[in-house]
């Protein structure tokens, strides 16, 4: 079927495994693509010791159309499900679902890909907001746990006769049963994917939580946290902006200088400032700053560093007689600014 014989499959780094040396077998018309059901070249390799053998599940055409890994069907750039990537970058799914239409579309696309090249922008260069969101949601480190062997279904029922030599995992299935019902075709097209749904929901929730509109529940928080500053944003500029909303207790700028804490005397002042920043935006020194609620203020040093100089009857005690929790400031973590959670 394939006019060109590919030398190497389209895979993500996680699927290939940690070992930079991988031994792979290639079989020309080994299996049917799980999406388009056409015979394609399958590659099979071991992604690391103690892992199961992985093989390519979808053909190169299907993979290129969605810019996903041939085995895990996750985006090549961010490692995110297709539904998440498409909703962030507003990409439409043009692949028809119906059997015959799909085959025809994919067959035509296979031919076109070689001539026209990629048309859809999968990296989202045009939409920085979407791209930002994807970068935030993506994993920082490769997740090799997904290359492990599948769970032994006989073990789950308690009847695995293979025992020690069983190549499948002898563990009970963990995690949300809702997430277990996944379908490869759904994951590929980007609809009805439970993992994607959960990721999008979590991202929406965290965006709401850190937004300025929702005041934090802890009523003692009277400070705002300002980000995105540079040299043009001065302390006086900040006080000029934030002073009208109430009495300022202090403005603290850490040495790095790209952020600041605005501390108010009372809560209503902070809320007023937050509302204003939400409505009009916060612009200081010509720079648009990002304002969010601060976290609970750390309490001051919690230990008494002064020893009682006299005992009960008034006679001065010899040094070292009184036992305290801290002799030096550094022995008391709260005196150094750390927060005891």
């Amino acid at each position: 079927m394939a006019a060109d014989d590919t030398e190497f499959p389209i895979l993500c780094e996680t699927c290939l495994g940690e070992n930079p040396y991988v031994r792979m077998t290639k079989e020309s018309h080994g299996k049917e693509c799980k999406i388009c059901n056409r015979a394609f070249t399958i590659f099979r390799w071991l992604p690391g010791r103690g892992m199961r053998y992985k093989k390519t599940e979808i053909c190169t055409t299907c993979a290129k159309l969605k810019n996903v890994c041939q085995t895990c069907i996750l985006d090549l750039e961010h490692g995110l499900p297709v539904q998440v990537r498409d909703s962030a970058l507003s990409i439409q799914d043009n692949v028809p679902r119906d059997e015959a239409n799909r085959r025809d579309y994919l067959a035509r696309a296979a031919g076109e890909l070689e001539t026209a090249g990629e048309q859809v922008d999968f990296s989202g260069r045009a939409q920085p907001a979407g791209r930002e969101m994807l970068k935030r949601m993506a994993r920082t480190e490769p997740y090799y746990k997904r290359n492990r062997a599948h769970i032994c279904s006989f073990f789950v029922k308690g009847i695995c006769t293979r025992g020690n030599e069983c190549p499948y995992r002898h563990e009970m299935p963990r995690g949300d049963p809702e997430l277990a019902k996944q379908n490869i075709v759904d994951r590929y097209h980007g609809n009805n994917d439970p993992v994607a749904r959960r990721m999008l929901k979590r991202s929406a929730d965290s965006a709401k939580k850190s937004s300025l509109a929702s005041a934090p529940e802890d009523k003692s928080i009277t400070s705002l946290f300002v980000m995105g500053m540079d040299a043009s944003v001065t302390q006086s500029g900040l006080s000029e902006f934030f002073a009208p909303y109430g009495e300022l207790k202090s403005i603290v700028v850490p040495p790095k200088g790209n952020c600041a804490f605005i501390n108010y005397r009372n809560r209503s002042a902070a809320e007023a400032a937050a509302a204003a920043a939400l409505d009009d935006g916060c612009v200081v020194g010509g720079k648009a700053l990002r304002v969010v609620w601060g976290r609970a203020r750390p309490k001051g040093p919690q230990s008494e560093l002064q020893r009682p100089a006299t005992a009960a009857n008034g006679i001065p005690l010899p040094p070292g007689a009184a036992e305290d929790s801290a002799q030096y400031p550094s022995q008391d973590p709260t005196a150094m600014g750390a927060v005891r959670r």
């Binding site: 077998t25 099979r44 103690g50």
Partner: protein, 149 residues
């Protein structure tokens, strides 16, 4: 299975010493027939032939032991056993080589049978295997036939 001959012909060809080993050979024959007729219920697809391979190994081992180790039978009787299928000549030939003294079956050293042109996993000494997990090779169910094991 050796070709059936008429009684007189068979009587002529019997080498001396056959009478002593004959009961054991018959026992092996019986066990082999039982293994061939075993039910395949509850077994994996590959597992069904393991018992046949095992008896084949044991039977050949018996002949090899008698001739090469204990020197209890004559060369003529040994040849008779090989020719009549009571022992596998090719397998015994491997046992004479250093490193292959405990070889399980001939399939396990055939590189054409593996994906990457290697030998079977059962040929790896247990010391090199790590993981701590015993493996049963897919050809004959062997759990390790390296000479050091």
């Amino acid at each position: 299975m050796p070709k059936a001959k008429t009684l007189s012909k068979r009587k002529q060809q019997r080498p001396e010493g056959l009478d002593e080993i004959e009961p054991t050979l018959n026992e092996f024959e019986q066990r082999m027939r039982d293994a061939e007729n075993e039910s395949t219920a509850g077994k994996r697809k590959v597992e069904s032939t393991w018992s046949v391979m095992r008896i084949h190994h044991q039977r050949s081992r018996y002949i090899y032991d008698l001739y090469y180790k204990r020197k209890a039978i004559s060369r003529k009787l040994y040849k008779y056993c090989i020719d009549n299928g009571y022992g596998d000549g090719n397998l015994i030939a491997k046992w004479k080589k250093q490193g292959f003294e405990k070889l399980c079956c001939l399939q396990c050293i055939q590189p054409r049978d593996t994906n990457y042109g290697t030998a079977c996993i059962c040929r790896v000494p247990k010391a090199n295997l790590e993981e701590g997990r015993t493996v049963q090779c897919v050809h004959c169910g062997c759990r390790g036939c390296a000479s050091s094991d």
